[in-house]
């Protein structure tokens, strides 16, 4: 199953909704699409929604870490939400939960940032 990426911006926050499978092959598309928006718009924060993501491996962690480093440069916040148990395991191993904000869903994430 390929990756499908749905992006939209609200205030200074980029919403990234993923469905399908995020691996090394599909990570290029995700990185390029986010970066081209970052070039055009003032983006401070990002919210990744993994609700319909059925697979993610360490290549996915790499992309998220990369976006985290970009966001951090602008003193923004990166939030991930809707983790299933498998993605949660991978995120645990990666230690990402120590540097990212993790919320239940997009609503909680928006509230956290005050873009609701």
């Amino acid at each position: 199953m390929p990756l499908s990426v749905h992006l939209f911006i609200k205030a200074d926050t980029l919403f990234v909704r993923l469905s399908g499978e995020l691996d090394h092959h599909t990570s290029f598309q995700l990185r390029e699409r986010i970066n081209s928006l970052m070039d055009k718009y003032e983006i401070r924060n990002m919210i990744f929604n993994f609700k319909n993501l059925s697979f993610m491996d360490s290549s996915g962690i790499g992309v998220i870490l990369g976006r985290y480093n970009q966001v951090k440069r602008n003193k923004g916040i990166l939030i991930v939400c809707e983790l299933n148990s498998m993605i949660e395991k991978i995120i645990k191993v990666s230690g990402l939960y120590k540097i990212l904000v993790i919320t239940k869903d997009e609503e909680q994430a928006s509230n956290y940032l005050g873009v609701a």
């Binding site: 691996d23 090394h24 697979f55 990666s94």
Partner: protein, 149 residues
């Protein structure tokens, strides 16, 4: 229930990134008759995905080559090997360190080998410079055995 038959398959395929998903589908198809739990299925898919990705980007440095995936089931135990004939790993101990990657510029996380080890019951890696790398893992599909919380 009917006793499950032992099974064997070996697959040789091109080291192109499209085949990361293909390798996951193959593993899922192979272990389906063994009635794995969803977690076991996902863990095996992740292991193979990590190993195949490594062959493509590290073993062959994105220049292509052949990958060999071997799948064996014996009673409730699955053995998987992933082999490339690429550049090999110089320092295995450093490679296995969590977060070590030789390609930080490609946004690699350096977690692949650690994930393979955590998600399997047995994990072996063998590599020779200029000849390639072999990853071999075993996983028991008994329900009762849970290695971590």
């Amino acid at each position: 229930m009917k006793q499950k038959r032992d099974n064997y398959a070996e697959i040789i395929f091109d080291a192109i990134s499209e085949n990361e998903a293909f390798a996951r589908i193959i593993v899922a198809g192979f272990i389906m008759p063994l009635d794995p739990t969803i977690d076991q299925l996902n863990e095996l898919k992740t292991i193979v995905s990590e190993a195949v990705t490594n062959c493509i980007i590290h073993g062959y440095e994105n220049r292509g080559g052949k990958i060999k995936l071997t799948l064996e089931s014996y009673h409730n135990e699955v053995t998987i090997t992933v082999v490339d004939y690429g550049k090999g790993i110089e320092d295995l101990n450093r490679a296995k360190e969590l977060f070590y990657t030789s390609k930080p510029e490609e946004e690699r996380s350096g977690m692949g080998l650690t994930i393979m080890e955590i998600f399997s019951d047995e994990f072996h890696i063998h590599s020779k410079m200029g000849e390639g790398t072999i990853i071999k893992i075993k996983k028991n599909l008994d329900y009762t055995k849970e290695k971590y919380a």
